[in-house]
């Protein structure tokens, strides 16, 4: 895949030279900007972002931070760096779903992402690049469990969603208020207890009554099934944190 194709398909993992043997790369000519392309005025060094992606996959937070700093210093656009980070989270998410990675690997990958983002975020802001989608997440009222919810929040952040985490034992009214305040594109409801599942339904009813036409609602948690999600009017359900990213993206694309 050429660098240009990689950029256009959003699967950027390597930025090779346009002219073999030269240091003229695609970003010497173009830069990504909020989904479009604009002229880039200065010449950049050729930077292979694959090690950055792999540092996320391997959960190597020090490397992730250093590679991010190096890429920025070399003049790579922050959005391209972000794409490399997200590619790493996607890779670990896929491995998680294939039982090739487990909770510890997800945790360290998310931590490495967070570390890299601490360097990248100011540059993204400077460039006027913000997450395209905002998600509000929480565990429904009566339920204090947060491990699954935390994993989903981490994965959504890793997929470059702006995530507003309301914590646990969240009343329907708080979900509604947060969705309104942050103009949420997505609301994620979590429950572990069968006894708190009815509160998911009540929360969905409250969100729908509030009239939030663009807001999609996802549910998840150990006792939740697709059948239950359909029954209570959720827009999406995922059985695990990695699946929650795929479903969220599908909902946002729809």
């Amino acid at each position: 895949m050429t660098a240009f194709m990689a950029v256009m398909t959003g699967s950027l993992t390597w930025l090779g030279p346009l002219v073999p043997g030269s240091n003229l790369d695609i970003f010497s000519l173009f830069d990504l900007h909020q989904g479009g392309i604009r002229w880039q005025r200065h010449r950049r060094q050729i930077v292979d972002l694959q090690p950055l992606t792999q540092s996320i996959v391997g959960g190597k937070r020090k490397d992730a931070k250093e590679h991010t700093e190096q890429a920025l210093a070399a003049g790579v656009g922050p959005e391209a760096i972000l794409a490399a980070l997200v590619a790493g989270m996607d890779e670990i998410g896929g491995r998680f779903q294939r039982n090739e990675a487990f909770v510890p690997e997800m945790l360290i990958a998310a931590r490495a992402m967070k570390e890299a983002m601490s360097v990248l975020e100011p540059e993204l802001l400077k460039a006027g690049i913000r997450p395209e989608f905002t998600a509000v997440i929480g565990t429904v009222q009566g339920d204090l469990h947060d491990i699954g919810k935390n994993l989903v929040a981490m994965m959504w952040k890793g997929a470059n969603f702006n995530v507003v985490d309301l914590g646990t034992n969240v009343e329907a009214e708080r979900f509604v208020a947060a969705a309104q305040e942050h103009q949420a594109d997505l609301v994620g409801l979590s429950a572990l207890l069968t006894t708190t599942m009815p509160n998911m339904k009540a929360t969905i009813e409250a969100l729908k009554a509030a009239g939030l036409p663009k807001t999609k609602i996802m549910v998840g948690g150990a006792p939740i099934t697709q059948e239950f999600a359909d029954e209570i009017g959720a827009d999406g359900f995922a059985p695990d944190a990695a699946g929650a990213v795929q479903v969220a993206r599908t909902l946002m694309a729809g």
Partner: protein, 377 residues
């Protein structure tokens, strides 16, 4: 047959009069919810086996095989509905006062080597004399008595679950990568406590039938610990404990595993842990018969009855009983609702379940009296 003989015959695939009829008890809200549906006030978690005519899970020779002493409990904040406190494992937790379940863990005392050496290692001295009860001789005499009709068990601790509790899922997840030597040192320390305490119990003359361990290390999607780490760090130590138990006549070891266990079963079996407890249907649709086909008769199972059907009603309950009956007849399997009966199950449905399992699995033979059914007729 006594309860003890029946359990052992079942788990050894030997002839028996019937399958044990056991229960894994109830959510804390369940019995109060049933009061208005006919359950008498005197029935509590502690005596519900007698009310429902259930065989017991035996009697354990309890010892202090974990933190000793435990951390002082301290209430930080209390409202009408919630309690924030430091619990006896050093965690800052928030728990509901109106609903009993796993609390929310806000902070863990065990974070790193410094906190391990300062707060935990002193509480994990294997040779602490207080680990064995003062009345050990009387306890052993009672449990070893020929009149003992209940299964006699020992508790063989936890190599991951306790550490996970002390650090949190996230804390231990980071630790296995950030400081794998410390993680292994923690596991080794806990393992040595189990070996020492069990050794002293057996030296004191205890004759046990079975051992139990507690891990709760899987959730609906799989293990909380990476299987390769499980295999490298935990399995050899499970084997040390299992070997010690076998040298002392204990060849049935059950592990309270929870959740989706399929990636860990081989390691446990390899180490000599041969009863999975409870096999959960509700969280990931585990099928006991499929497990038996895959792992053979070395693997014994407990649980495996889909508790969700108890809410659905008699027809669904009967179908679930029928589904499990061939494996019940084969042996090596003691069914019960897979992880405690929740409060959304109507009392009448549970009585139907009790009636049917006494008929189908209990064959109406040598059953304990069941006041619940007697009072319902």
């Amino acid at each position: 047959m006594t309860e003890r003989q029946r359990f052992l015959a079942t788990m050894r695939y030997e002839p028996r009069d019937r399958c044990p009829i056991m229960d894994f008890n109830f959510w804390d809200e369940t019995l109060p919810a049933w009061r208005s549906q006919g359950l008498p006030d005197h029935v509590r978690q502690g005596n519900s086996d007698d009310w429902f005519g259930m065989d017991s899970m035996g009697e354990t020779a309890w010892v202090h095989n974990g933190l000793l002493p435990r951390f002082p409990v301290e209430v930080i904040r209390e409202t009408d509905t919630e309690l924030e406190m430091i619990d006896d494992e050093g965690r800052r937790i928030r728990k509901s006062k109106v609903q009993e379940s796993i609390p929310m863990y806000l902070d863990h005392l065990l974070q790193d080597r410094e906190s391990w050496e300062r707060h935990f290692l002193p509480r994990l001295r294997a040779d602490d004399p207080a680990r064995l009860p003062e009345d050990l001789d009387q306890t052993i005499a009672r449990l070893n008595s020929p009149e003992q009709e209940r299964l006699v068990t020992v508790h063989a601790g936890s190599l991951f679950g306790w550490i996970r509790d002390w650090m949190g899922v996230e804390g231990v997840g980071y630790l296995v990568y950030d400081d794998p030597e410390l993680f292994e040192e923690m596991v080794e320390t806990v393992c040595q406590v189990q070996e020492t305490v069990l050794g002293r119990l057996f030296e004191a003359g205890l004759k046990a039938d079975a051992a139990q361990m507690w891990e709760d290390m899987c959730y609906s999607g799989g293990p909380l610990l990476t299987p390769s780490v499980f295999q490298a760090v935990l399995v050899p130590r499970y084997r040390r404990i299992a070997d010690l138990l076998r040298r002392n006549g204990v060849d049935l070891i059950w592990i309270d595993c929870d959740g989706r266990i399929d990636l860990l079963v081989t390691g446990w079996l390899e180490a000599g842990i041969n009863i999975m407890f409870p096999l959960e249907v509700g969280t990931w649709n585990a099928d006991p018969a499929a497990f038996r086909r895959e792992y053979g008769r070395d693997l014994r199972l407990m649980g495996g009855f889909d508790k969700r059907v108890l809410e659905a009603g008699p027809a669904a309950i009967d179908a679930e009983i029928d589904r499990l009956t061939p494996l019940v007849e084969e042996g090596g399997f003691i069914p019960f609702p897979d992880h405690r009966v929740p409060p959304d199950v109507p009392y009448g449905h549970f009585l139907h379940y009790v009636r049917r399992v006494r008929e189908v699995w209990g064959l109406g033979l040598n059953l304990k009296p069941c006041p619940a059914l007697e009072s319902a007729t």
